[in-house]
């Protein structure tokens, strides 16, 4: 008889569009979301009505790779090297920052909403004043190249819950922790399990998702382990958790199958960790328990997932990605799926 709660997933709403949906952010306390697509568009999607109400507008030239939301503004980052501030209500552009030389992969918003961090494939993290768009400082520390002298990528950034620290992660499996107030690098974690070279010399893998625990003591990283899905060979999805002060790896999960975990977040209960991903032979939404170090639930996802948002109590999950328009179809479409999560407490006694 299990002593742990069980979890059930149920897909309850779905919205689809042309192109992939790559990024999502949720308006707190609502079923309204902003989603960014591979066609450069941003959509405001209200899933509350029977039929979703959607408005979209052209934002970037191509991929809208990341979105963050303040009380009154939406900030987007794209593979066209731009950051754009938008009025949350009117969707009009307020500010364009064109100072990145390469693909801006991810954004993170400080808990007090004063700072937005961006990471770019020039391997620099930049901190910007949210209110003015002014550059506060640049954080240099990630290697420009992999160990085989090929260009590296800077995939992720995230603030600690108290806003005092920022973590950035790259393709080679380097996680750097920075003191936000001073820009000083305080820790370097090496996570080489996330990266390898295949027999053709390709750099493969990288840390695609990053999250601090609710108490700020742990940091979770996700991606893929030492395989080569480009060769249809197979590899293992990987999540690892570290005590970032000591550098010790506290948890590892390489279950779930042949795919990349793209995003990871800690559950509000502080005990569970949620990862979503795809690309490869399998696609999953996974929940892991930090206490038992086991998988609580592995949900086969109908689509390749690129990002997700969750409600305050994590009873609702919103995943974005792409999948076949119809069964056996080569036409792919972007999807936003709303999931209901039901936690069943273990029987008493």
């Amino acid at each position: 008889m299990t002593s742990e709660p069980s979890l059930q997933f149920k897909s309850v709403r779905e919205y689809s569009c042309d192109g992939d949906l790559l990024s999502v952010v949720r308006i707190p306390e609502t079923n309204q979301l902003f989603a960014g697509g591979s066609h450069g568009q941003i959509m405001h999607i209200d899933l509350a009505p029977e039929t979703p109400v959607v408005s979209s507008w052209p934002a970037h030239v191509s991929y809208v790779s990341s979105l963050v939301l303040t009380n009154d503004q939406l900030i987007s980052a794209g593979s066209d090297h731009r950051l754009i501030w938008w009025d949350r209500e009117s969707h009009r552009p307020l500010r364009i920052v064109d100072d990145h030389p390469k693909w801006v992969r991810a954004l993170a918003l400080s808990p007090d909403q004063r700072i937005v961090a961006s990471v770019c494939d020039d391997m620099v993290c930049r901190l910007w004043e949210t209110s003015s768009g002014k550059l506060i400082r640049e954080l240099h520390g990630h290697s420009l190249q992999t160990s085989r002298f090929l260009p590296s990528k800077l995939y992720q950034c995230t603030f600690s819950p108290d806003g005092s620290h920022l973590a950035t992660a790259d393709q080679s499996g380097q996680i750097l922790i920075w003191e936000v107030a001073t820009g000083q690098q305080v820790t370097k974690l090496m996570a080489p399990h996330f990266f390898t070279h295949d027999t053709n010399g390709h750099g493969y893998g990288g840390i695609r998702g990053l999250a601090f625990s609710r108490d700020g003591l742990l940091i979770a990283a996700c991606g893929n382990q030492a395989g080569d899905t480009s060769q249809i060979g197979g590899s293992k999805a990987l999540i690892r958790v570290y005590d970032w002060a000591t550098g010790e790896s506290t948890h590892e999960w390489n279950v779930g199958g042949n795919f990349f975990y793209e995003r990871v977040q800690f559950h509000p209960n502080g005990v569970w960790l949620i990862g979503v991903g795809g690309a490869g032979a399998e696609q999953k939404i996974a929940v892991f328990d930090l206490v038992s170090k086991s998988a609580v639930h592995l949900e086969a996802s109908p689509m390749l997932n690129f990002d997700f948002a969750m409600s305050e109590k994590a009873d609702r999950l919103f995943t974005v990605g792409r999948k076949d328009a119809t069964a056996n179809s080569r036409i792919k479409r972007g999807y936003l799926i709303q999931w209901e999560l039901t936690t069943t407490a273990p029987p008493a006694g």
Partner: protein, 448 residues
């Protein structure tokens, strides 16, 4: 034929070279097949070519490089992927942002053909043979072998055709078919530390030089030379008392080639290269091999191919191309600048080529699959730089202007280095086979 020329040499060094050239060609006839006789049909042209010392260097993008992430981007389209395009030194032409160095140089060095139709959608070597079948009774020669046979000085101690590979995956080794084995490439491949699979990248050693081009430790160079003199003396003694022996000449030719490799071992290294030149090419195996290729070209090797693989990205296409395309950009721009600075580019044709392109469609693994249409580039000798030939539709699905087939591309390559693309060789079944199909026309718009 050799015996009829005996005793007619006047003793001058210049005439000695010409005589040896003749004998060399003849030896090649008997050692490599009857088709070498065709070389004698236009000796004036052959001599002119060799005097002009034309060379060809091919960067072969093994596995199928994506035209979308290189020379024919479609930003903002559903098929375009994440990367934007950037302006180039050719007004109106944009390239992928992943190639900023070549974007500046296109107008100076390079013509781009965006409309190659290979009719090939698989990892086969057929495109290297111009679409000709690689099985069957008649063994057609590859482009590299044909170029080597047309451009080489048969008397040169250098190899005629060198091919570098820097990865462990699938490769396409060219053969000269009915032209004869002497035009096959010298293949330089990675060494494997472990003899058996499975391999990891750590199990391979990238080679810049062929194996066996150094003397064993127990033999000094002087001893080896003396052995060669004794062998030659005994061989001549034998030949003077016997009818012309093709086996003997084959051994002579083979020994000369081996000795030639040993004498030129220094070319197959980075020895003596300034650090800033090494850095310019980059520290990757591809960069290092391209630099050695330049050295070989400079020394007079007529055809060198440097393979970079593996471009077959059915998954994570953008992540891999973001790594490999900037490397190509760095190596290609370094090579063209270097050849130009040394005064070699006007005599050297540099190509980028692949066995196929990649689909406009992006699959579930964020990859692109096989596609028969692709882009190629030609730089240097005989090429009009800044020409952008051919066009695909807004999504890169169809060729909408100036489709080019492989035979036309080959014809263009031959013409660029002054070779008559309709010149005939004799196949093993006795019929004449032109370098390119009859009535093929080169793309004259890209020719200078």
């Amino acid at each position: 034929m050799a015996s009829s020329m005996k005793g007619m040499w006047c003793g001058s060094q210049e005439h000695e070279l010409s005589r040896r050239t003749f004998f060399g060609a003849s030896a090649g006839v008997f050692a490599g097949g009857l088709t070498g006789l065709n070389r004698l049909k236009a000796p004036v042209l052959a001599d002119e070519l060799r005097r002009n010392q034309k060379r060809v260097l091919m960067l072969f993008l093994n596995g199928g490089a994506s035209q979308f992430e290189t020379f024919d981007p479609k930003p903002g389209r559903p098929t375009g992927g994440p990367f934007v395009s950037i302006p180039t030194s050719v007004p109106g032409y944009q390239m992928s942002e992943l190639m900023p160095e070549m974007a500046q140089r296109i107008g100076k060095y390079t013509a781009v053909i965006r409309s190659i139709e290979t009719k090939n959608g698989d990892h086969v070597d057929v495109p290297l043979y111009g679409g000709k079948p690689t099985t069957g009774v008649v063994k057609f020669p590859s482009l590299g072998c044909m170029l080597a046979s047309e451009l080489a000085n048969p008397d040169s101690p250098l190899p005629h055709h060198v091919s570098f590979t820097n990865y462990l995956g699938q490769n396409f080794f060219e053969t000269a078919g009915f032209l004869g084995a002497r035009w096959n490439p010298l293949n330089i491949q990675p060494g494997r530390v472990k003899p058996e699979p499975p391999f990891t990248i750590e199990d391979s050693v990238v080679n810049l030089a062929p194996s066996g081009n150094k003397l064993p430790d127990f033999l000094t160079d002087e001893e080896h030379f003396k052995r060669g003199q004794l062998r030659s003396f005994l061989g001549k003694s034998f030949a003077s008392e016997n009818a012309y022996d093709s086996t003997l000449n084959s051994y002579e030719s083979a020994y000369s080639k081996v000795r030639g490799l040993m004498d030129n071992a220094h070319l197959f290294s980075l020895e003596g290269e300034p650090q800033n030149v090494i850095d310019r090419y980059g520290r990757t195996p591809f960069g290092q091999q391209a630099l050695v290729a330049r050295r070989l070209i400079e020394a007079g090797v007529p055809f060198v191919r440097v393979n970079r693989g593996w471009w077959d990205h059915h998954g994570q296409n953008f992540e891999f191309h973001q790594e490999m395309v900037p490397e190509l950009d760095m190596v290609m721009s370094a090579l063209l600048d270097d050849l130009n600075d040394r005064g070699l580019l006007e005599h050297t044709l540099v190509l980028t080529f692949s066995e196929m392109g990649r689909t406009p469609y992006i699959n579930s693994s964020q990859g692109r699959d096989h596609f028969p249409r692709m882009s190629v580039t030609l730089s240097g000798c005989g090429i009009k730089p800044g020409v952008i030939y051919g066009k695909t539709d807004k999504d890169g699905q169809e060729i909408v202007q100036d489709e080019v087939n492989l035979q036309q591309f080959f014809a263009t390559v031959f013409q660029a280095v002054g070779i008559d693309h309709q010149k005939e060789n004799m196949a093993s079944d006795g019929r004449p086979v032109p370098l390119t199909d009859y009535k093929t026309e080169p793309i004259r718009e890209v020719l200078a």
